[in-house]
Amino acid sequence: MDKKVISTISLAGCFGCHMSFLDIDLKLLELIELVEFNRSPLTDIKTFSKRIDIGIIEGGCSNDENVKVLKDFRKNCDILISLGECAIMGGLPALRNHLTLKECLEEAYFNVPTSNHNQTIPRHEDLPQLLDKVYPCHELVKIDYFLPGCPPSGEIIWQALAALIKNDKLEISKRLIKYD
């Protein structure tokens, strides 16, 4: 069996989902027999160098750069997975959705106790432009699978990937996706 090609990315997330991915521990050894990694923060490869079988997205879209990357992933990946609460629903970053951008930036740069009081909000053409809201990924592109959790446990990530790679049916026990 050819190795499947995987890419991952973190958009407006905290890298928690990626950490959880690494939490599959010894299964990593098994995984690396089945897949190769292409563009991903895990490999530090910044561009796609071939067609990707499975793309994994952590985080929603908070700025124009996120949007660009997400679309690029959709273009280059056969299967796209929204991994975790932020990709699926916007998550913690989306708490800003009921504030205006102005309120949000002023709170972050001027009003917090840790503000450096130099009273500027950075703006540069190299800096991504913030969107009016934080959007979940499936509002921009088609997402094939959703793996819930904040973060999803390593076990779910492993089971889901294993099922996709081996073309098996995925049956996740209730224990793994029950959060209350």
């Binding site: 124009d64 949007v67 679309k71 959709r74 951008l101 913030l130 969107l131 009016d132 809201k133 088609k142």
Partner: protein, 585 residues
């Protein structure tokens, strides 16, 4: 004495008086502020939260000041199609405020509300809870100018001309017309006061229930439960206290037949309730009257008094209880919660109201029309009724017909009548869609006009809205989805969140942003909402979308031009506009 104390002295200080008390405060002060709520909670021995949860539930109660004159514009689809926007703009321009706010001087507040039961004389508004129908721009200006000049609303209404029938009586004095267009041979048989009661007084309770059962009468509130069986079940539960409740909440958009029954047939309604009380052994009756119909309260109470004076209701007091603007309170268990002074959130069933209803006692809840028909059945015998209609649906049915027709109003039909016959009778104008049974009913296209009104084809609670070919299907559906999103009580997630999701999907279709897979999503979410919601609201709210998707898929398919499922419409310019504006770019 402090005003609040006076109100409480009059109404009593138990929780079941909470809604009447809140009504008095709202009408008197124009709001129920947090301070008032705290005062009230001490006097009623409730926590402030128990008051606030009730105040925040009902549309007509408000923590913020709603103005000396409170104006509510009917937001039904029928009003939309009768120049509602023009009327709304006129109010806004004349008052120089936006809908949803109060003039700076506090004289006028302008708001919107769900259908107020005037679809036959649309567009209509409630001014200080008095309905004013058939509005024109001129009329709005006259009314506002008069109010500004301190002329009393009652006088303005008189000058606009009183309505027909009992609408012009001393106890109603409204502008409303009954618009009874088609009188059949059952309901409209001449009433003779007390006749039904005196016949029933010669019958045993079992006998009464038998006659009602044999007639085949099914509830007219929408669910169609056999009335005889309901009464029998309530009779069989042993209890010292039982209640008869008339559901006069008539909240389904497009329905107004109960309004007309309450106006013209109030005597028969009372007789039906009294007969029911004898059949089940009930000791008290309530008429739960929707807040929008508060203008009928005096009239109903006058008739109750009249019955009392005639000796018909010695041991069966009947009270008129005013709702406060909540469609869900038409659902029988929510209605009972409301009668108990709480939020109108449906109960989990079983137990059904006939077992544990009002204050935990066996309770019969029936629609206005059901009681009226029951009284007629007692007068004329079960066969007079069961010989009409069809096998599954006996007797007659009142329809409230509105929309694109030359003759909107009340029609009495035998069940089994076809849509095309109805459309002919009401002189429908280029009929293209008909919504049978209100937003929670069925949307049919002109290919289906041979279908029939009956429990096994097109059941209905009486609403019949006709739409001509110049109407947009998506405008209609959007209005219905807005209605359900507004009126969901929020208790269970499938209905609270699912209706928002359905509305969003519909908006995608309407704005040309949908993809083919969205149509499946509508079906999937529709199924989830209807199969997993707690009460009838959520169980039926996806109906218009699902039925029109089924009968008119081409409308939806034609609205989808972009078939690219991978990339959805996302306007990056719009999404970054706020950021650029912030940086003055």
């Amino acid at each position: 004495m402090h005003k609040l104390d006076l109100i409480i002295q009059k109404e009593g200080n138990s929780q079941d008086r909470l809604i009447p008390i809140l009504w008095e405060i709202q009408k008197d002060i124009g709001c129920i502020s947090l301070d008032t709520q705290t005062d009230l909670s001490k006097k009623l021995n409730l926590s402030p939260a128990e008051i606030q949860e009730v105040v925040s539930f009902y549309h007509f109660f408000s923590e913020e000041y709603r103005g000396k004159h409170q104006i509510y514009i009917d937001s039904s689809i029928i009003a939309d199609f009768h120049d509602r926007n023009q009327i709304k703009t006129t109010f806004e321009n004349e008052l120089k405020i936006n809908t949803g706010s109060v003039t700076p001087c506090g004289t006028f507040g302008l708001f919107e509300t769900s259908c107020i039961g005037m679809s036959d004389q649309s567009p209509a508004v409630l001014i200080d809870f008095i309905p004013v129908p058939s509005l024109t721009v001129e009329k709005v200006k006259i009314i506002l100018n008069s109010l500004k000049n301190g002329i009393k609303l009652e006088e303005i209404i008189l000058s606009l001309g009183l309505g027909d029938g009992a609408n012009s009586s001393n106890y109603i004095q409204s502008n409303i017309n009954n618009n009874i267009v088609k009188k059949g041979h059952f309901l409209f048989k001449k009433w003779s006061k007390g006749e039904a009661i005196s016949i029933a007084s010669q019958m045993s309770p079992e006998n009464i229930i038998q006659v009602i059962s044999d007639s085949g009468l099914k509830g007219r509130g929408g669910a169609g439960f056999p009335t005889g069986l309901k009464w029998k079940l309530a009779k069989e539960v042993p209890s010292d206290k039982k209640y008869i409740v008339c559901n006069a909440d008539e909240g389904e958009p497009g329905t107004f037949k109960d309004r007309v029954l309450l106006t013209e047939f109030i005597g028969l309604l009372l007789e039906g309730m009294i007969i029911a009380s004898k059949a089940v052994g009930a000791s008290k009756g309530y008429i739960y009257l929707r807040g929008e119909y508060s203008y009928l309260k005096n009239h109903i109470e006058r008739q109750i008094l009249d019955f009392k004076e005639s000796g018909f209701i010695n041991s069966f007091p009947i009270e008129v209880f005013l709702g406060a603007g909540a469609y869900i309170c038409g659902e029988e268990s929510a209605l009972l919660e409301s009668l108990e002074g709480k939020r109108g959130e449906p109960r989990i069933k079983p137990p059904f109201p006939v077992e544990q209803g009002l204050f935990g006692c066996p309770t019969v809840v029936n629609n206005v029309e059901t009681f009226v028909l029951a009284a007629q059945i007692i007068r004329f015998g079960h066969e007079s009724f069961s010989s009409l209609g069809t096998e599954s649906s006996r007797g007659i049915r009142l329809l409230s017909i509105s929309g694109d027709v030359e003759k909107p109003g009340i029609y009495e039909y035998e069940w089994g009548v076809s849509i095309s016959e109805i459309l002919r009778d009401c002189k429908a104008i280029e009929p293209t869609f008909v919504q049978v049974g209100g937003p929670s009913g069925t949307m049919i296209s002109n290919k289906e006009f041979d279908r029939k009104i009956s429990h096994d084809d097109l059941p209905t609670g009486g609403s019949f809205m006709v739409f001509s070919k110049k109407r947009s299907l998506f405008d209609i559906l959007s209005n219905f989805m807005d209605f359900f999103v507004d009126e969901s009580c929020g208790n269970c997630t499938p209905c609270r969140a699912g209706n928002v999701i359905l509305r969003d999907l519909l908006t995608k279709v309407k704005t040309g942003k949908a993809r083919p897979s969205d149509l499946n999503k509508i079906k999937d979410w529709g199924n989830i909402v209807s199969k997993t919601s707690r009460c009838g609201l959520g169980m039926t709210s996806p109906n218009p979308l699902l039925t029109s998707l089924k009968s008119m898929p081409e409308y939806f398919e034609n609205a989808i031009t972009n078939k690219d499922e991978n990339f959805l419409d996302f306007d990056i310019e719009q999404a970054t506009a706020e950021y650029k504006e912030f940086h003055n770019e």
